[in-house]
Symmetry: C2
DNA sequence: TGGGGGTGGGACAGATTTGTTTCAGATGGT
DNA sequence: ACCATCTGAAACAAATCTGTCCCACCCCCA
C-alpha cells in the first residue's frame, strides 16, 4: 500500500479514501484492465473483421495495457475473485476463437492449438513491453518486431524449410 | 514463509534452520536456478555447437527450470542483490551471442535484434510451462509447439508471403 | 474574507509476518 | 537400550502491514 501510494504520487491516506479496502483496489484495477482489453478487442474487430487486418490492429495495442495485464495475471489475489477469473477466461476464449478463425481462413497454421497461440502471443506481447522498458527495443521498432516474430518466427526461410536438404553443410 | 514451508512439505522452523534469513533463502534459490540454467547452456553447447542442433537441445529444457527462472525474474527482492543481477545479465548476454551466431550462420533472420530474440524465446518458454500447467498443452506436444512457433511463427506459408499478392481474396 | 472539498501527516489498535528459542517426539545407527 | 541428529509444535518479542481516526493545511470559489 505504501509503495502503491508512493508510485501513484499520493499518500496512503488518500489511496484508502479512494478505494477503501485493498481487496477492492485490486478488484477495481483489474476490472478496468479487463474492460480496456475488451474494448481494444472490439476496436480491432477480432470477432468479425478480416483476420490479418484485425491482427495488424491488435499488435499496435498500447504496451502499457500489456504491462497492466501481465501484472494482473501475476497478482495472486486476483484469482480469489471468481468474477475476475470468469472474465479472464471469457477473454481468453474470445481470443482463442480469433486464432481458430484465422486457421479456418488459412491465415494461421492449423496444426497449432489455438489456445497455445493465445499463450504464445500474450507472452511475446509482455516480453515486448519488457524489452522496451529495458531499453533494448525502441518504441518505433516494437510493432515490426512483434509482427515478424509472431507471424513468421525467427528462422530464415532457408533454415525453416530443411526438407529439400541442400543447405547449411559445407 | 508459512506458504513456502507448507509447499515444501516442511515446517516453518525447519525452513528457517536450513536457510536462516528470508533474504538468504531467495539468494540461495536464485543462485541454484542460475547455475542450473548455465549448466543447461553448457550441455546444449550454445557457445560452439552447430546452432540448430544446440537450439533443438535447448527447447527440450525441463519446463520446471523455466518456471523457476520466471519466478526468479518475478521476485522483486532478487534485483536488490547485485551479484544476482550481474549473473542474470551475463546469462542474457551469452544467450544473445547464441542468437547472433545463428544469424551469422544464416539460421536466424538477421533483421531481428538478437536481444529481442532472447526476450521472445524466454517469454514463449515461460508461456509453454504455463499452458502445460493449465492443461491446454500436453507434455508430449510441448517441444513440438515451441519449436514450430519460435522458428517459423504462426502464419501459414501462404499468408506469410503476401508479396505475390494472389491469395486470400474471394 | 470566509468557508467547502480534498489532501497529507501523524497517531493509533489490530492483524499479520518474521526470526528465535525451547521442548518434546521421531528416526536411525551402534 | 543409548545416543546423536533431525524435525515439528508452541510460544515469544520484534517488526511490519493494514485500516481508521483526527487535525492541520492548501487551494479554489464565492
Amino acid at each position: 500500500m505504501q509503495e502503491i501510494a508512493a508510485a501513484a504520487g499520493v499518500s496512503r491516506t488518500t489511496l484508502h479514501r479512494a478505494f477503501g479496502d485493498r481487496a477492492t483496489l485490486v478488484e477495481r484495477v483489474s476490472e478496468h484492465v479487463l474492460a480496456e482489453c475488451s474494448r481494444l478487442f472490439d476496436e480491432a474487430g477480432i470477432d468479425e473483421a478480416p483476420v490479418m487486418a484485425a491482427f495488424d490492429r491488435l499488435i499496435e495495442m498500447p504496451l502499457p495495457l500489456a504491462k497492466a495485464y501481465a501484472l494482473l495475471l501475476a497478482e495472486p489475489g486476483a484469482y480469489r475473485i471468481a468474477r475476475l477469473v470468469e472474465e479472464i477466461r471469457t477473454q481468453d476464449d474470445r481470443f482463442e476463437r480469433f486464432f481458430a478463425r484465422g486457421q479456418a481462413d488459412g491465415i494461421f497454421r492449423p496444426e497449432l492449438p489455438p489456445r497455445w497461440l493465445v499463450y504464445s502471443f500474450g507472452a511475446q506481447l509482455t516480453a515486448l513491453w519488457w524489452a522496451v522498458d529495458d531499453g533494448f527495443v525502441g518504441t518505433r521498432d516494437a510493432t515490426r518486431l512483434l509482427r515478424a516474430t509472431v507471424l513468421t518466427g525467427i528462422a530464415t526461410d532457408a533454415a525453416a524449410a530443411p526438407d529439400p536438404g541442400s543447405e547449411g553443410k559445407p
